[in-house]
Symmetry: none
Subunit: 207 residues, 4 copies
Amino acid sequence: MKVPEHRSLKEKQRLEREELILQVAQDVVLEKGYRDTSMDEIAARVGIAKGTLYLHFARKEDLMLAFFEREMQKILQTIEQLPVTAEMSARAKLEAIVNIMHKDASGKRANLLFILFNSEDFKITLQQKSLDTLRRISDKVRAYLEEGKARGEFDPNIPTDILLNSFFSVLSPRAHRRLFLEEGYTRQEVLSCVQKIFFRGIAKQPS
Amino acid sequence: MKVPEHRSLKEKQRLEREELILQVAQDVVLEKGYRDTSMDEIAARVGIAKGTLYLHFARKEDLMLAFFEREMQKILQTIEQLPVTAEMSARAKLEAIVNIMHKDASGKRANLLFILFNSEDFKITLQQKSLDTLRRISDKVRAYLEEGKARGEFDPNIPTDILLNSFFSVLSPRAHRRLFLEEGYTRQEVLSCVQKIFFRGIAKQPS
Amino acid sequence: MKVPEHRSLKEKQRLEREELILQVAQDVVLEKGYRDTSMDEIAARVGIAKGTLYLHFARKEDLMLAFFEREMQKILQTIEQLPVTAEMSARAKLEAIVNIMHKDASGKRANLLFILFNSEDFKITLQQKSLDTLRRISDKVRAYLEEGKARGEFDPNIPTDILLNSFFSVLSPRAHRRLFLEEGYTRQEVLSCVQKIFFRGIAKQPS
Amino acid sequence: MKVPEHRSLKEKQRLEREELILQVAQDVVLEKGYRDTSMDEIAARVGIAKGTLYLHFARKEDLMLAFFEREMQKILQTIEQLPVTAEMSARAKLEAIVNIMHKDASGKRANLLFILFNSEDFKITLQQKSLDTLRRISDKVRAYLEEGKARGEFDPNIPTDILLNSFFSVLSPRAHRRLFLEEGYTRQEVLSCVQKIFFRGIAKQPS
DNA sequence: TATGAATGAGTGTTCATTCAT
DNA sequence: TATGAATGAACACTCATTCAT
């Protein structure tokens, strides 16, 4: 009976440490960017030796991918658990997704998603797993966009690819960060305006 | 009297070389990204010694800032020389600006502008001069946005700051790069759709 | 009375494990070389924790020395148990030693012996114990060489030190490894030729 | 007129520096072995910064190969310039080669040749150029060995491959280093005995 | 002024060794 | 006693920056 407990304790500690590393890595990356984030700095901030970092993640790339993947998984899970009803408009569903992406206080999540979506900026070769998760998220959005077109909510003349891309770029908090940081707007305020612009912009035009 | 001429000749040569360096730097940065652009490569491509590069730009950062500044100056000048008439709608003026930003075949300009506007991507602290140019560009856009509001073209309920920010993020080719590169859309096609979304989105709503 | 038994049981287990470690270490070293053999890999292959390895051998070097020592001991024992009769020629006795050194299918033994004899290849300072064993082996060979000289079999004009050194370097399978691996000769064939060269070479010249 | 001079001066300095690096690298490798030779140590011993080392040799491997190649070239050139006459016995020619290999005071050359000939010990993948030089050296020896067989000097029953391999392993000073270093023999003395053993050993037997 | 050789701090990664449990 | 997580010194290699010529 003790061995399993012991193991699970160790395993728990391991996961906690891993979580801490991921959290710190994320902070540093958001602060300094991918290339300026050094394994040295992550280790120092976590308060462990550099070698210990490598017990958890064999390569810098793996660490980076791990936290991207983790964030995306969280988003995907929340999106898939959204309580959608038949009566909800496509816009309402998409707004729910936007809210999820902006939910966390710092907007980190959406930043990461945006970064990933424009992943060519990184010299990271996304692994298949991450690409899959990413694909599943964007497929969900795509499905709602097409549903909206079918229902006559959205303009059918705009290709869904373009709607999809605009959805992620327009609604990314990254794109609007300056407004919170320097101009004193609240997240909610900005989000509300930007959503308004986007959904009006893609709405089906009265003939 | 000769000295000044001599100086101005030298000065002219100096400026020509500087121009060449900036052009090359821009190419390399757009090709490889900021971090993967080395002073060695720039010097080699220009055909001068590395030391000579440092006679023109004391730091890598300065070189980068200089070519951002140069691009912005070009944009600013074109914007300021736009033939605007009283009858032109604010939207038409803004569309003209968007066209300038996307004018060059490769979309380099707008990429650079966007990059700068989100300058935290770079470890660059913009110098006062660059900030001024940037400010003047965005002031022009801001003026047209407010003109549009005053004329009843744009929704007065959305703060101009937010419109301004959306203008730059939505219309940046960077945000839509994937669509050209991977999905096979043409620049013109994407630009047209995205403009449509944006201007519909910010249009004054019928009461 | 129980304690000693207990101890000797433990001791026996300890020795068995030590034997296993040495066996594994030897395999890995012959497979990958000294520098590319990691304590991690040895522990993993043995199926114990790395810390446990260090309970048996305080340093990597100690482990390496231990298995050299062990191999040399085996060789020494076999050499000392050789059924030598008065009628046997010195050459026959030396050939028996060569055969022992090459006996195991893979030539591991002789490789190890050669490596040790040229121990500068390793950053290993041989411990006294190993040096003793080594000395006893080479003394045996030296004795037979001198016996051969005394009997008129070998050329008395060549110093025994030089004969001894040539014996080990000429007859080392390491020196001839290429011939098996790349040229397709059999061990037996090469060994036979090399022995012929050596014993002819050191034979007493007809006056 | 000045430019060429200037260039050749710089070039000369460059070559001198390179020579110095190679000399130091060789010393360190012979002292510590390939794996224990660090670029840091080489740079420190030469008295230059680590970066400077990389101006001359892009990779550690390149540096190592460069000095192997250089030594082999020297040997090859000397071998090819040997004054051989039709009357010289094959043995005399081979002895001349052995002398070349042992010529330099320290015996470094032959050590390097031996190391290379057993190059599987190194994780170096020999470049084609080095392999060619090596091949040309051993071809020369092989030719003399076969000439000796044809002339009835050497035993035709021993395959030339085996003779060749024995030539290099037996006559390598590496194999006999102990005798100089610890036993007090002179190089000449050892060399003479070892040659005697080898050439007697391979001599054609009276039928 | 122009050069490019030289610098050295910094990077990701490995691995023998230690030590709390 | 046995574990394996943690350590940190060491390594090969890069590149912005300097400086003697």
